[in-house]
């Protein structure tokens, strides 16, 4: 048997203590890593299909995990409810205008991402429900293949020998052949008799234009020539100017006469004032004569008995 070391029980207790400490530290660390000591708020993401989402996966913002899927359940309307716990310290990155996406790539698992365009918006409240936008690369493939198949079918029909496009192209070729013919584009639009009529009409139009040209030359002479309307109009305007000058002189004389008339009127106004004074004096004299007459009437033999006697 080996030589027994000293303090066996103490050393064994030390080992047990080390084990317990390691165990406790590990448990505490894992609880901390799982976010058990963090205050969280709930975010509910609604999706039509929760395929690829699993409990424990992260919700990332700018590549940083800010939340963790805690539960996935079915809502009453059949949609998938993805319950996410977001630590309160990271909830500041989620705003009411935030957008959430669930993207499934061809390689790797699905990812839940949050985008907050306006960080000054009000923060996302606890228990908020948001629709998650699904971007599924693999889900697009069947639709893409179907559309490509439809497109190829359309192209096949278009390029067939009896297709509308082929007939249209044939017609275009006929048209271009006629357009490059002797009658040019005219032969494209009308038959031969119509073309003759159009040609005759064009000749008549040319003749008419020549006559109109002569008329314009004569009108030019009559209007702008030496004896034309414009020259005579100019002489008339000159005579009118002379007449206007005479009229201006006459008016000046009238103005002088008016000034003199104003002087006469002033004199008449002064004479009128003298007549007023004379009239006042005449009025005073008349009143005195009336008083004198009244006085004479009160005297005898002109006295009249004015007394009324009542019997």
């Amino acid at each position: 048997m080996d030589k027994e070391p000293n303090n066996l029980e103490a050393k064994a207790a030390l080992l047990v203590g080390l084990f317990v400490a390691l165990l406790a530290a590990t448990v505490l660390y894992i609880l901390y890593a799982r976010g058990s000591f963090e205050d969280t708020q709930r975010l509910v993401l609604l999706a039509d299909d929760s395929e690829g989402v699993r409990v424990g996966m992260d919700v990332t913002f700018s590549g940083f995990p800010i939340g963790r899927v805690r539960r996935i359940e079915l809502a009453a309307d059949g949609a998938a409810r993805i319950l996410v716990d977001v630590p309160v310290k990271d909830a500041k990155w989620l705003r009411q205008s935030s957008v959430f996406t669930l993207s499934r790539s061809l390689v790797g698992g699905a990812t839940l991402k949050a985008y907050s365009g306006v960080l000054t918006d009000p923060p996302l409240p606890d228990g908020a429900e948001r629709r998650v936008l699904v971007g599924d690369a693999t889900a697009e493939l069947p639709r893409l293949v179907s559309e490509v198949r439809e497109l190829v079918g359309n192209l096949t029909r278009l390029t067939a020998a009896d297709s509308s496009l082929a007939l249209s192209l044939s017609n275009v070729r006929t048209i271009t052949e006629r357009a490059t013919g002797p009658r040019g584009a005219g032969g494209l639009l009308m038959n031969e008799s119509d073309a003759k009529q159009v040609s005759a009409a064009l000749q008549r139009v040319n003749t008419l234009l020549a006559r109109i040209d002569g008329m314009a030359a004569r009108a030019d002479v009559q209007v702008l020539g030496p004896q034309g309307l414009v020259s005579e109009g100019k002489a008339g305007v000159a005579q009118l100017n002379a007449l206007l000058a005479d009229a201006r002189q006459t008016l000046k004389k009238v103005d002088a006469l008016l000034v003199e008339a104003q002087g006469v009127a002033g004199n008449v106004r002064g004479a009128t004032n003298g007549l007023d004074a004379l009239r006042g004096e005449v009025d005073a004299t008349v009143r005195k004569v009336e008083q004198l007459v009244d006085e004479v009437n009160r005297k005898w033999p002109f006295q009249r008995d004015t007394e009324l006697k009542l019997r």
């Binding site: 027994e4 070391p5 207790a13 080992l15 047990v16 390691l22 995990p65 963790r68």
Partner: protein
């Protein structure tokens, strides 16, 4: 022509073998239950028993711990480096840390710890018990009125389990530290991201399976070798030694436990 060469004889021998195999497992389970009851009863930890337990516990673990720590450190450095370089070459470095934690901490290290505890601690202890039995010490103890199971077997079983658990705990912590240092270097900048990854790996289900696996591996490496040597009377006619039979049973049990944990984690 011997009777065993006939089909009936072969079938009878096969059935007898299966019956013996089942009986052996039954005795092992019975012994495990007996030792569990003894381990959980306070009367097993009186002063004299406690000293014996402390002796086995310290000697068994202290001898294995430094070497296994060094070994797990080397294994961790090599495996983590391989995983990191490979994942970087494929552009999948974001999954490297999670893979390291899953492969090393959850799967390889507990298995290696149990194996090392078996080789360095529990198998030698089982040999001691076998020697004690063959040398007459067993009967002497019984003659003194002491229960040999409680006096000699229980301290060794408890010490063996503790050794496996201790090695697993220390090596897991070391592997976690080495993984951090390998990925982020000597800086604290990656602590939050690393903690987040570890937290994501250790979900409640994975943590429960991990804990159960370590405990069951510890119990199996502690009990199976001792159960084999205590099963010596029926084994006298066997062709193989009790130690080798115990080792095989222990390995089978470890493989079953590991497979069950893999099924639980990833199925």
């Amino acid at each position: 022509m011997s009777p065993l060469s006939s089909p009936q004889g072969t079938l009878a021998a096969l059935l007898r073998g299966v019956a013996q195999w089942l009986a052996g497992w039954g005795r092992t389970v019975h012994l495990a239950a007996l030792l569990s009851v003894l381990a959980l009863s306070p009367s097993s930890y009186r002063a004299d028993s406690r000293r014996t337990l402390a002796r086995h516990l310290y000697l068994g673990t202290a001898q294995a711990l430094p070497w296994f720590t060094l070994l797990s450190l080397l294994i961790a450095i090599v495996v983590i480096r391989i995983v990191l370089v490979t994942s970087q070459s494929y552009g999948l470095s974001q999954y490297a840390l999670e893979m390291v934690v899953r492969v090393l901490v959850l799967e390889l290290i507990p298995l290696a710890a149990a194996m090392f505890a078996a080789l360095r601690c529990t198998i030698p202890m089982a040999t001691e018990v076998a020697t004690l039995r063959s040398g007459g010490g067993w009967d002497a103890l019984a003659a003194q009125g002491r229960d040999p199971m409680r006096a000699e077997v229980l301290p060794r079983a408890v010490a063996g389990s503790f050794c496996a658990l201790m090695l697993a705990a220390v090596s897991c912590v070391i592997t976690l530290v080495v993984a951090y240092l390998s990925v982020y270097g000597f800086t604290g900048a990656g602590f939050a991201a690393y903690t987040h990854t570890v937290g994501r790996v250790f979900s409640p289900a994975v943590s429960l399976i991990f804990t159960l696996k370590i405990v069951l591996l510890g119990l199996s490496v502690a009990l199976m070798p001792i159960a084999s040597v205590l099963d010596a009377v029926p084994r006298r006619r066997a062709h193989t030694s009790a130690e080798l039979q115990g080792l095989v049973r222990m390995l089978v049990l470890m493989v079953i436990i590991e497979a069950a944990s893999l099924v639980g984690n990833y199925a």
